[in-house]
Symmetry: C2
Subunit: 464 residues, 2 copies
């Protein structure tokens, strides 16, 4: 694989303004062009390619826009080989030169070994690295060591609209022969050391509404004689977590997986410069002082965050209002083996307890508006071992075995629906700035990532 | 005084769209026309009238509009008589037929004894009642029993722009001979029983900012390792008031005036239908069950209301943000003899105590952004006795001796700057709907109010 050719293709792909977030016809046309270009590339590699019509997207304003097709592609169907399916997306976050981009976001620009451009690392670069790896075998006229499938979408940044239905439908067709699923849509936690991601936290999002009446009151006219909804709500939200970050909902830690010796060792092995991490986060002091504690509390322990309040006075200035109806919002990041519906019951019961002790005449309603399971893989699965060996071969180091504190819904979705082993093999460095201005992928990461995927195919063939 | 003539004048005044809230040239012109018409009316009564140029009002958008003149008028300067100064305003709140008005807000319309129209009760009707009372003496060719002064403005609903500077300037000129100041710009607390208002609460408005950094965080990426500003803020706000409405700031009740037997009796004498009050407020249950407790907690005890939070997630939907910097807002309604700057110290010290116990690495800043003193008059002042007697004469009943839970800055301003006895003699009924759609004054209130002011002049002459 010629690195120049790889860079040219990335330049061509980045030039397409495939923004799925802003629902306007212009960007939607760009998305269709993007998907057609990718389908064409895969066809020229010899893949059987299906561009699946995804129907229309209904917008909140009543209008609709066509959803770009999802590409399902297959290369090889040798039953003696393992079959690896690669998931990627070619849509991007919005980017506007005026927002602080130093170069045109849609012109891939190399500065000191960094390739700047919207989508360079999220996710056009990694998708191309995988394609480059395949085309390297083609260029050398070698058989592919594994059967390869691609599922590539164009709506990830907009919430993977309609993808779940497609995966469900293709569960026993396209996915039936798939042994392993690889996603490369996150980042290392270091600038130089590769990583493999084997778990993400889930999330349960709660609203708690406290209502006296629908209208607000004037605090001069009613202050002093009301059970004020804000006083109730502040007490409810204040009962959730203590100042050390410990969640106060009874029973919430009961199902958290016990910490094993082996797991502690994986944390010890991870390189994390705490000083640099604190500086780049612009946080004076974290709740914990050691690398291990910090990583564990981001990845393997639940956390509770209070996001805000709807219905109260939220603007600058001084308004003497007693809000009549307020909605508090908070969420708990879930870890193995917490169960979404158990957490829902525990939180609801706890808030009901706290509220009943207040003897308030207001009405309280607790709702869980979102429940996403945590995801964790078995790091002794074949593809984890293959990925580790490939990293050793290409980078000469052991990977950081990491998790993600956020939810990556796509990983959880494949795990839940397709029931195949899922691995996340990120290619980008921690400072790539996905979703930010001046997104980039390092030329080194892009080239070594291509090599890594090629080595991964070979290791998979050996281990399968 | 011919009631038909009085109604005609009110109709003429209500027809002027003297909206001071919407800063547009059209309404400003109407305000100038309104003030000119009032000046003309007073001149025809024989008053010496000065229309004081108030200069321009600077708008937030950088433009400016002229402030309507303030009318200073004088009728009589007999040094053997007492001098009563009447304050009123002729500007109104915005009114739009489409907002739920059943009749044109600028066409005074009588329906079953109620005179509907914007400004009918707030404050054009009461200003005219005072003028009608004066003109009754003129019509009967009787000497006025007291010297009368008028200060009438056109910017009250916009915050009495520039008025304080004028009062300060006129302290030793226009106000030097004034013995008593009468304001008639609030309402009874009953539909049929007159009232005299002798006090208002003050207000101290606080912001408490908690900051980790200026940008927000993602709760997946940082949840679990931060001292989250919202957790700190919710704890701070939750430490202010308990579920029974009791303020938890140490020392806050120390200077609250002790409750006297005489005061208890004034509350007992007030007519308040609790059932009707609860229904019209659409509140299921108040903190207190008796009329006396409710009135005392609105008027003579402080209250604390939490208004909201700036900087957190306040919109519909589910956003997994950890706000980096949040500002909580609350205010304490102050009562005699609480002192604004003592309260500021107490609140600041309390919040600092609570915050320091959390060992948070965030920064907290407490600010008092507004401090308005409570106002209370001596109800044994001459003009209070005169007003009571006049009410007995005209209505055949004792008045409700009431206070206002809100601040009426104008009363406090006259008290502070001019140091003269201030009384609030409302004319309108509790259901007049000032600031609302379908504002009205009852024909009965308007006519009896005119009589009341005439009787008040006579009583003042006797008692002075």
């Amino acid at each position: 694989m010629d690195p120049k050719l790889g860079r040219m293709m990335l330049k061509e792909w980045v030039a397409i303004e495939s923004d799925s977030v802003q629902p306007v016809p212009r960007f939607r046309q760009e998305l269709f062009r993007m998907m057609a270009m990718a389908a064409d590339t895969l066809q020229r590699l010899g893949a059987r390619v299906a561009s699946v019509d995804m129907g229309p997207q209904q917008l909140p304003n009543g209008q609709s826009l066509p959803i770009p097709p999802v590409i399902l592609a297959e290369l090889g169907s040798d039953p003696t080989k393992g079959t690896v399916c690669f998931y990627g997306h070619l849509d991007v976050q919005p980017a506007d030169r005026g927002d602080g981009w130093l170069t045109d976001p849609y012109v891939l620009t190399e500065v000191e070994g960094k390739l700047y451009g919207r989508g360079a690392t999220d996710n056009k670069g990694p998708v191309l690295a995988w394609i480059n790896a395949v085309s390297a075998f083609r260029a050398l006229e070698q058989d592919l060591p594994v059967n390869i499938k691609f599922i590539i979408e164009g709506m990830e940044e907009a919430g993977s609209v309609a993808l779940e239905e497609l995966v469900e439908k293709e569960k026993d067709r396209f996915f039936s022969g798939v042994d392993y699923i690889v996603i490369s849509d996150n980042l290392w936690i270091s600038q130089r050391k590769p990583a493999i991601t084997y778990g993400t936290r889930g999330n349960s999002y709660f609203t708690v509404e406290v209502k006296c009446r629908d209208q607000d009151f004037h605090s001069g006219t009613f202050g002093g004689i009301l059970h004020e909804p804000m006083a109730d709500l502040v007490a409810l939200l204040g009962s959730l977590v203590d100042s050390s970050g410990h969640i106060l909902v009874p029973g919430i830690y009961d199902e958290v997986a016990p910490l094993t010796e082996e797991e502690i060792n994986t944390y010890k092995a991870i390189h994390l410069d705490l000083e640099e991490y604190r500086n780049s986060s612009r946080v004076e002091k974290f709740l914990f002082d050691t690398k291990e504690e910090i990583l564990m509390h981001l990845w393997r322990y639940p956390s509770l965050s209070i996001h805000g309040i709807e219905g109260a006075f939220d603007e600058p200035g001084a308004k003497t209002v007693i809000p009549g109806r307020v909605i508090g919002k908070f969420s708990i990041r879930l870890v193995p083996h917490m169960n979404v519906s158990v957490v829902e019951k525990q939180v609801t019961r706890h808030l009901e307890d706290v509220f009943s002790k207040r003897n308030s005449s207001n009405k309280m309603v607790v709702s869980m508006t979102l429940g996403l399971h945590p995801w964790i893989a078995n790091i002794n699965d074949t593809q984890y071992l293959a990925a580790k060996r490939a990293i050793r071969t290409v980078f000469g180091t052991e990977p950081d075995m990491i998790r993600d504190g956020s939810t990556i819904p796509i990983a959880e979705m494949f795990q839940e629906i397709v029931h195949k082993s899922v691995v996340l093999i990120p290619l980008g460095a921690v400072d790539d700035g996905e979703h930010s201005q001046n997104e980039k992928i390092n030329r080194w990461n892009y080239i070594e990532g291509t090599k890594l995927f090629a080595a991964f195919f070979l290791e998979m063939a050996q281990l399968h």
